[in-house]
């Protein structure tokens, strides 16, 4: 089948069977290895991507399900050379250790801030609870997401932030 969707802001048309996992389409067909596979069963969240702005495990989604949708992978989160506030905050806060879970968590955090620009610590905790990190103890990840929220407020003056 012909699959058309928006990938990192670009209209994309692919020939697929429709039964491929989205993660394989992204990594193998589209050449975007930033989406990581940690378990293949939706347990670890390393393969998280944004589908219409909301975080989804790409190992649990089939290619046919993204028809007409808008997908953001970690490669598409920055605007050109300017990092997304979540990316910047993760670097500055030291929220990255091995970094294998980082793309997924960054996207979950970006998804959270899309719909809730000023999340509480509890809301942050809940939003990234589907993303396992074995290195950091999550402390600096929470701090980074709070910092990113602050950056976004400063940048946009508290307006709406549709991606």
């Amino acid at each position: 089948m012909k699959l058309s969707f928006k990938l990192n802001g670009k209209k994309t048309v692919l020939e697929v069977t429709g039964g491929e996992r989205l993660i394989d389409v992204l990594r193998d067909t589209c050449g975007l290895p930033g989406t990581k596979e940690g378990c293949g069963k939706g347990e670890c969240g390393a393969c998280t991507v944004l589908v219409n702005g909301a975080p989804v495990c790409s190992c649990l989604m089939l290619s046919s399900q993204v028809e007409g949708k808008e997908i953001t992978t970690i490669e598409g989160l920055a605007s050109g050379k300017e990092l997304h506030p979540v990316q910047r905050a993760f670097i500055e806060t030291g929220a990255i250790q091995c970094g294998f879970c980082t793309p997924g968590i960054v996207l979950s955090a970006a998804g959270l801030l899309n719909r809730n620009p000023s999340p509480s610590r509890e809301e942050i905790r809940r939003a990234v609870s589907g993303n396992l990190c074995r290195c950091t103890g999550y402390v600096k990840i929470f701090e980074a997401i709070e910092k990113a929220s602050q950056y976004m407020k400063n940048r946009k003056g508290g307006g709406s932030r549709d991606e």
Binding site: R27, L32, P33, G34, T35, K36, E37, G38, C39, G40, K41, E43, C44, A46, T73, I74, E75, L77, A78, L83, Q87, F90, I91, E92, G94, I96, Q97, C98, G99, F100, C101, T102, P103, V106, I124, R125, R126, V128, S129, G130, N131, L132, C133, R134, C135, T136, G137, Y138, V139, K140, I141, F142
Partner: protein, 786 residues
């Protein structure tokens, strides 16, 4: 005066002790960093492993016909195809690459299937028919020693035994006022790094086999591949790819994967990639040894810990792998960080028909420290002392001897870690807390480096090249696993050469670039590679200083290089302290003259002076007597105090950890942000070990929960408030006073939590994890007992 201002600015700019951003963080956060499975090669084939479904049996037949018929399958390989020796060299060499006549655990590798894509390889692996005659497995590690019928290793199924004999424990117990004796048990702990194991083997036409993968120890991998393929060490080039967490789980196991990928790659002359899926990774790769401890300790009324008698047994699984070294560390740390004049320890690691256990953060010590620190609280209570006071009367200070008789000469910040935790938490044992809320203390220590068990591996090499444009490239043999080594080593090189941090980068660790530098384990990278890099950098600095002195027309001892600038100055004691703290000049610099470092480099290049150098460091001597356990087993120790605040739900038995204070004497935090990250991450892994992580094995020896939805590790919902506290008692032999410590944050968390639960609701749990069920049952027993 202007010069002085410049000078002071520069002095502030050394990156040692600064929170510089991680070197690799931009790559990680943009998805640009490539891990093993992200790498592609033309003609790349994919491998999958055929594994034993049984815990013990005899292989009668391996039938690959059906698999070979599948479209896309390129070959099936068994032990018969191995050109060299079918064994993985670790400490002993009892583990085969692929099983021959026997299988000894569920998941043991038997054959490797290679196909054009991963899905086909995995499907074909299921089509290989292995006929196995089942034998009764030995599953209980407490029955393994001297088992009458099943002999898995030697005569007694004991891989290794250690002893410590100090003083006269029998007599000392007779003079004790209180004696406590208990049994403690701890379960498997699975590393659950988020990146599963992955490896690629690339055969080159000239006979070199290149290995790229997720690993801690490139030299272990090289040794294994050379053994299995029968190649010289110079022909196997092992390069570490970005590695997504390890925690010990990528110490020995990558050797196995590398051989499983290299064998078909060598045979087919094509690159082969092997990635374990999560289930396969969890069921077939190493974990923390389950442990059993009988711990008897006694004290006198004056609060002195007089005598300790310990029997410690850990479950090594089917092959010995790293078990001897794991047991060694557990044995040395068995008494906790206290003085005790009368000690008897007998420790054993035994063979069973289960997955080989191995290295995991703490390396044999968390199991026994759970017992040791629980005992300390029980003893204190019996003595009528509070847990702080009892520990204060026994804790190790400079000048004291450990239980192995090692005299502690310096860098003993244990007491300060206690004071800092008490100060930060404002907790006192006498304070009343809310209902069902309790506080629990633990104090631990960590012998830095490989110690006497691995002394022959305790060396590191490094090389540094200062390029003509002022950029610096260095190579070491230790690896980045997420712990922040690359950043810390870059800080050390930048500091020593006097160049900006941003101008320094590291090559991927590569066995063809640096000599065997031992493994990346035992929290050794900062001290060992750091010292080797300091040595190499010093040699280059000497060349620069020589040239700069000539250019500035001043004596060499008045040349100073910092942050890409060269100054002349009167001699000041800049590196006067072992911690390398920058101490400003006592008087304003009176001489004049400065140059951009770039000018000096240009001049050196023009004159063809060598701006590269090697460094080689061996660890200070260590010792351990096999009969008495006497000696100096580690070069230096890190020290820690933890305090956990918990609330117990009496209805459900749930333990809610409200806050953890964790103070660590690290010598010197080269990057405090990284050091805090190690504390925070280690504490949460420790909470997983304490509260929820438990791998279960059924009566056939199968792991029943090899997935992340059935083996539970802490999520963000379980994360608690952690207060990391860094204490710095410099280690004179370490770079800028640093000593390794990153394993330590996990080690004392379980007993702190168990002690806090006891403080909260009065029940003492001696078996990990402290699941709601266990706590609830203990509460029920307690209330019935009343």
């Amino acid at each position: 005066m202007i010069l002085r201002a410049l000078y002071e600015g520069a002095a502030l700019m050394t990156s040692i002790g600064k929170r510089v951003n991680r070197t690799e963080s931009l790559d990680r956060v943009t998805g640009a960093g490539l891990f093993t499975d992200d790498l592609g090669y033309p003609g790349l084939l994919h491998a999958a492993v055929v594994r034993s479904p049984f815990a013990r049996g005899q292989i009668e037949r391996i039938d690959s016909a059906a698999a070979l018929k599948m479209k896309g399958v390129e070959g099936v390989f068994t032990y018969k195809d191995i050109p060299g020796h079918n064994s993985i060299p670790i400490i002993l060499s009892d583990q085969p690459c692929l099983a021959e006549k026997h299988v000894n655990y569920v998941g043991e590798p038997i054959a490797v299937v290679v196909a054009r894509d991963r899905r086909t390889a995995r499907a074909a692996a299921l089509k290989v028919v292995v006929t196995i005659k089942k034998l009764t497995p030995l599953l209980s590690f407490l029955e393994a020693r001297n088992h009458p019928a099943i002999h898995l290793f030697g005569k007694d199924n004991v891989f290794r035994q250690f002893k410590v004999r100090r003083g006269d424990p029998a007599r000392a117990f007779a003079s004790c006022d209180v004696i406590v004796e208990n049994e403690y048990r701890t379960p498997y702990q699975e590393h659950a790094y988020i990146e599963p194991l992955a490896m690629i083997a690339i055969p080159h036409p000239d006979g070199v086999v290149e290995i790229k993968g997720s690993m801690q120890c490139p030299f272990y991998v090289r040794n294994a591949v050379t053994r299995v393929l029968g190649l010289p060490e110079s022909s196997v080039w092992v390069i570490q790819a970005a590695t997504g967490g390890a925690f010990g789980g990528k110490e020995d196991v990558p050797s196995l994967l590398a051989c499983q990928a290299a064998l078909p790659a060598w045979k087919l002359k094509k690159p082969v990639k092997l990635v374990y899926d999560r289930t396969e990774d969890m069921m077939s790769t190493s974990k923390r040894h389950p442990g059993w401890v009988r711990y008897k300790s006694g004290a006198t009324k004056d609060g002195i810990l007089r005598a300790i008698d310990i029997e410690y047994v850990i479950d090594g699984g089917a092959y010995s792998t790293l078990s001897a070294a794991v047991l060694f560390r557990g044995t040395v740390h068995a008494a906790g960080p206290y003085r005790c004049e009368n000690v008897k320890i007998d420790s054993y690691v035994v063979a069973t028909n289960k997955v080989p256990t191995g290295a995991f953060r703490g390396f044999g010590s968390p199991q026994i420290l759970f017992a040791a620190e629980s005992q300390m609280d029980i003893l204190a209570e019996k003595l009528g002392l509070d847990p702080v006071e009892f520990r204060r009367r026994n804790l190790l200070r400079v000048g004291d001897e450990t239980i192995t008789g090692q005299k502690l000469l310096n860098s003993v910040g244990l007491e300060e870690t206690l004071e800092r935790v008490l100060e930060s938490s404002a907790w006192t044992p006498a304070a009343e807390s809310e209902k069902d809320v309790g506080f629990g203390l633990s104090m631990v220590f960590y012998g830095v480096g490989l110690g006497a068990a691995g002394a022959y591996l305790a060396r590191t090499g490094a090389n540094v090249i200062l390029h003509a444009d002022g950029s610096v490239l260095f190579s070491v043999g230790t690896t980045e696993l997420g712990q922040g080594m690359t950043t810390v080593l870059s800080q050390i090189v930048a500091d020593e050469l006097g160049v900006p941090f941003d101008s320094v980068r590291m090559t991927a660790p590569d066995t063809s670039r640096v000599p065997d530098s031992g493994p990346t384990v035992a929290s050794r990278s900062t001290t060992m590679s750091g010292n080797a890099l300091r040595e190499a950098s010093k040699k280059i600095r000497a060349v620069l200083v020589d040239e700069a002195a000539e250019m500035l027309g001043c004596p060499q001892d008045q040349v100073r290089i910092e942050e890409g600038k060269v100054f002349t100055e009167p001699v000041v004691q800049r590196r006067a302290t072992a911690a390398g703290a920058s101490i400003g000049p006592s008087a304003p610099a009176s001489t004049t003259g400065s140059l951009p470092l770039q000018e000096v480099i240009k001049s050196c290049v023009h004159k063809r002076k060598p701006l590269f150098a090697d460094g080689w460091k061996i660890a200070p001597p260590t010792s351990f007597d096999g009969e008495t356990g006497k000696g100096d087993p580690y070069m230096v120790y890190a020290w820690a105090t933890n305090l956990a605040k918990v609330k117990v739900d009496r209805e459900t038995g749930e333990v809610h950890v409200m806050k953890v204070w964790s103070a660590h004497d690290v010598g010197k935090a080269i990057n405090p942000s990284s050091a805090e990250g190690q504390i925070e991450g280690g504490v949460l892994q420790g909470l997983g070990f304490a509260l929820m992580e438990e791998m279960l094995v059924d009566s056939e020896g199968r792991i029943t929960n090899p997935s992340l939805s059935t083996y539970l590790i802490p999520t963000s919902e379980d994360a608690t408030e952690i207060v990391p506290i860094i204490v710095e008692h410099p280690y004179p032999e370490g770079p800028s006073g640093a000593k390794g410590f990153a394993e330590q944050p996990l080690m004392g968390i379980a007993p702190a939590v168990a002690n806090a639960v006891h403080d909260a609701v009065g029940v003492r749990i001696t078996e990990l994890p402290l699941t709601p069920e266990k706590v609830w049952r203990a509460l029920q027993r307690e209330s019935r007992g009343r």
